[in-house]
């Protein structure tokens, strides 16, 4: 009995298996080159796929955070502009008050000053109810309506909430979305613990100048310190907004860097290295060609050709 038989079908079976394995490898590499992705499905590398999902998720959420940060930056800038306007307005009111403190002024002049003060009060009311680009009150905190309302007697009062909500602007970073009206319009009168605000100050002074007091000039001189406190308060508000804007800037910078490193990590985990893949592809091609050639040579070797 013949021991070493080279079964023809055995030879074909083995050659076929070897070549089809190479062929499958080739197709996989080709897909990697075409898509630039190393993974077609999670099961090819479960850990990397899970990591990629995690990265994709934080990437998506950071995108939204970044949108929120942009929006917040805009809102804070608008609020800052409004406060600048209010500061200018308070400075003008203070100038007028100093003028009204002059004993030589007649009632006509005092009336004129009072009228301008009333106008300034109007402007202050408008600016304090300033709205963002989305049409929402800048200084009302969390409340949806106007920040300040005026009753029938003309008294202005704050209608917003005590504090503004925090907004997520980056992973783990939340910034208060604005400042409330009282934070920069109310102040402590001469350290007495009595809280007043710019509205009461201006409207009160206008009333005094229009004959509400025996000596309007003296009353005006007394009011100057009130304006100083109001200006201090407004400046303080401006500083808070400036600090938040600066913080936001650094958060956004940080976000950019993180997004870059995330993209790098994503490419590292899930991307196919083109140089490596193409080299491997070429190598596999060479091996496949060689085995095809040798298969063709060996299979053409038949005794039937020579007998």
């Amino acid at each position: 009995m013949n021991i070493s038989v080279n079964s023809t079908s055995g030879f074909y079976l083995q050659s076929f298996n070897e070549m089809s394995e190479l062929r499958a490898q080739l197709e996989r590499l080709q897909t990697q080159v075409a898509t630039g992705e190393r993974l077609e499905r999670s099961s090819q590398d479960p850990v990397a796929a899970s990591r990629l999902r995690d990265i994709a998720r934080s990437q998506r959420l950071e995108e939204i955070n970044s949108e929120n940060a942009d929006r917040l930056e805009l809102d804070l800038n608008i609020a800052s502009d409004e406060i600048t306007g209010i500061t200018d307005l308070l400075i003008r009111a203070r100038e007028l008050t100093i003028g009204a403190g002059n004993d030589t002024l007649g009632q006509d002049s005092l009336d004129a000053i009072a009228t301008e003060l009333e106008q300034l009060g109007e402007e202050l009311f408008t600016r304090a109810n300033g709205v963002s680009l989305a049409g929402e009150s800048l200084f009302s905190g969390d409340a949806g309506g106007a920040a300040y309302i005026r009753d029938n007697a003309g008294v202005v009062s704050y209608a917003g909430s005590a504090e503004a909500a925090f907004l997520d602007v980056a992973e783990g970073v939340a910034i208060q979305r604005g400042i409330t009206g009282p934070e920069f319009l109310s102040f402590d009168v001469d350290g007495t613990g009595v809280t007043s605000d710019a509205f009461a100050l201006i409207s009160g002074l206008a009333a005094v100048l229009q004959g509400g007091a025996a000596d309007p000039s003296a009353a005006a001189r007394d009011a100057i310190s009130g304006f100083d406190s109001a200006l201090d308060s407004a400046n303080r508000g401006q500083t808070i907004l400036g600090a938040r804007l600066a913080w936001l800037d650094s958060v956004q910078q940080n976000q950019l860097e993180r997004s870059t490193s995330r993209a790098e990590e994503e490419a590292e985990i899930g991307g196919a290295d083109l140089t490596e893949t193409i080299t491997e592809l070429q190598q596999t091609l060479t091996v496949l060609e060689a085995s095809q050639t040798s298969f063709a040579r060996v299979s053409s070797l038949s005794l039937f050709n020579v007998i």
Partner: protein, 445 residues
């Protein structure tokens, strides 16, 4: 004397002719995977006669004993067992991959992330109606995706069940074939070409059978195959000329079980084993998916219940349903999303309830759970693929070894062709010589 020589020459020519025919048969079947190489066994014919003390020996040529079929019980067995193991791995991976596709490609994870993103955007401007509508729509996508994943998983389950039913039918068909072949083997003339052909059919039927269900085979001396399911102590599927019927039962949760003529059996190898375990995995997945949907519904609705809608009313459930199959949106409009905490006035821009919802979704919420689900599934597939590739190598080499051992070698057959042709010519020559001898005796005068 010369007639003996002619007889010897004739028997040699006959044997050479038979061998040539067999060679031709081998060549013709060189690419038939079920065919095992045949050889012709021959024996010398000598007549011995003893008269008194005088012993005479007369040569009478050669006799064809029969057709011998090259067989290797060991290699056949190995090829069957390894093919059975490979079929199991293939079946299981096919089922698991289909489930992976059903869950991964419906984008369950992505839809949950989009929902989170929409809520994050809503935080920026909680009273904006379009952002609210967008958040509600992305919640709807989450619900739809759950339903889609659930439906796809069900479809996949049905497909696997159909494949299993088909496999069980084939097992029955092959075992009945085998019983018939056994009956014919009993009737077949030993060492005939007909018997060899029946053995080929028997081995092919056994190979087909074992690719569906792991079997152990016991061959009787006359070649009749008795088949047991599983190992040598398993229940008998084919005994001589009778075959039992394998039945498949589908449970309510989609898993399958088998019984052989009423006795419960469970396959440990073969494609049916793989499909059965894939169905168990799919049923587990379905349960996990339902739990995931239920937990999403719970998290979101709890947050809603803790909050206040912009109109000042208490938050109403956002999702309704009890699982992945029936999850749907209960809110009619985005204005119902409760972003503010309970007790807030109308039109409040306080987003602390929304933040609480986002925190609940973030830490161990549906995104993490969906990720864990996909990770568990893909890890299992990845592990199976390693096993499968090892089994593939083992099965291929066993198959190649069997083919090498029992297959036809064309080079050998070509050499045999020349050899037997020469033998035929030589035997013819003997007859010629006998004729010449006879003639030369006749020529004496």
């Amino acid at each position: 004397m010369s007639s003996v020589l002619i007889n010897i020459g004739q028997s040699g020519a006959l044997a050479a002719r038979n061998a040539l025919e067999l060679t031709a048969q081998n060549i013709a079947n060189a690419s038939n995977p079920d065919y095992a190489r045949r050889t012709l066994s021959q024996s010398e014919v000598v007549s011995t006669a003893t008269v008194a003390l005088f012993t005479s020996t007369a040569f009478s040529g050669v006799r064809v004993d029969g057709v011998r079929r090259t067989d290797s019980v060991l290699l056949q067995n190995q090829a069957r067992t390894t093919a059975s193991d490979l079929a199991r791995a293939n079946g299981e991976i096919a089922g698991l991959r289909a489930a992976e596709e059903a869950i991964e490609q419906t984008g369950l994870f992505e839809s949950v992330v989009e929902f989170e993103a929409a809520l994050a955007r809503l935080q920026g401007d909680p009273l904006d109606p379009s952002l609210r509508a967008a958040a509600l729509e992305s919640a709807r996508v989450v619900a739809d995706t759950f339903q889609l994943a659930d439906g796809s998983l069900e479809t996949v389950q049905t497909q696997v069940q159909t494949a299993a039913q088909n496999g069980a039918d084939l097992v029955n068909q092959h075992s009945q074939d085998l019983a018939r072949i056994n009956a014919e083997i009993i009737r077949a003339l030993p060492n005939s070409s007909g018997q060899a052909a029946l053995f080929d059919q028997r081995d092919a039927a056994l190979a087909d059978l074992s690719s569906h269900y792991g079997i152990s085979v016991q061959l009787e001396s006359n070649g009749v195959a008795n088949v047991r399911l599983g190992d040598a102590s398993g229940p008998e599927l084919v005994t001589g000329t009778s075959a039992e019927t394998l039945n498949l039962t589908t449970a309510a949760d989609g898993t399958i079980s088998f019984d052989l003529g009423g006795t419960a059996v469970s396959p440990s190898s073969g494609s049916l084993a793989g499909l059965a375990s894939a169905l168990v995995a799919q049923s587990d997945l379905q349960t996990e998916l339902d739990a995931l949907a239920l937990s999403t519904i719970g998290i979101v609705n709890t947050a809603q219940a803790n909050g206040t809608a912009p109109d000042g009313s208490a938050g109403q459930p956002l999702f309704s349903g009890t699982g992945a199959g029936d999850i749907s949106i209960a809110l009619t409009s985005g204005a119902g999303i409760a972003t503010a905490p309970a007790g807030s006035p109308a039109q409040s821009r306080d987003v602390s309830n929304l933040s609480a919802l986002r925190d609940a979704l973030q830490n161990g919420g549906p995104a993490d759970q969906a990720d864990a689900l996909l990770f568990g599934l893909s890890s299992r597939i990845s592990g199976q693929e390693i096993t499968q590739s090892a089994l593939q190598t083992i099965a291929t080499s066993a198959q190649t070894a069997l083919q090498s051992e029992t297959g036809v070698d064309l080079d050998t057959e070509a050499a045999n062709l020349v050899r037997f042709q020469q033998a035929f010519q030589a035997s013819s020559r003997i007859m010629q010589v006998a004729n010449d001898i006879f003639d030369s005796i006749l020529a004496i005068r």
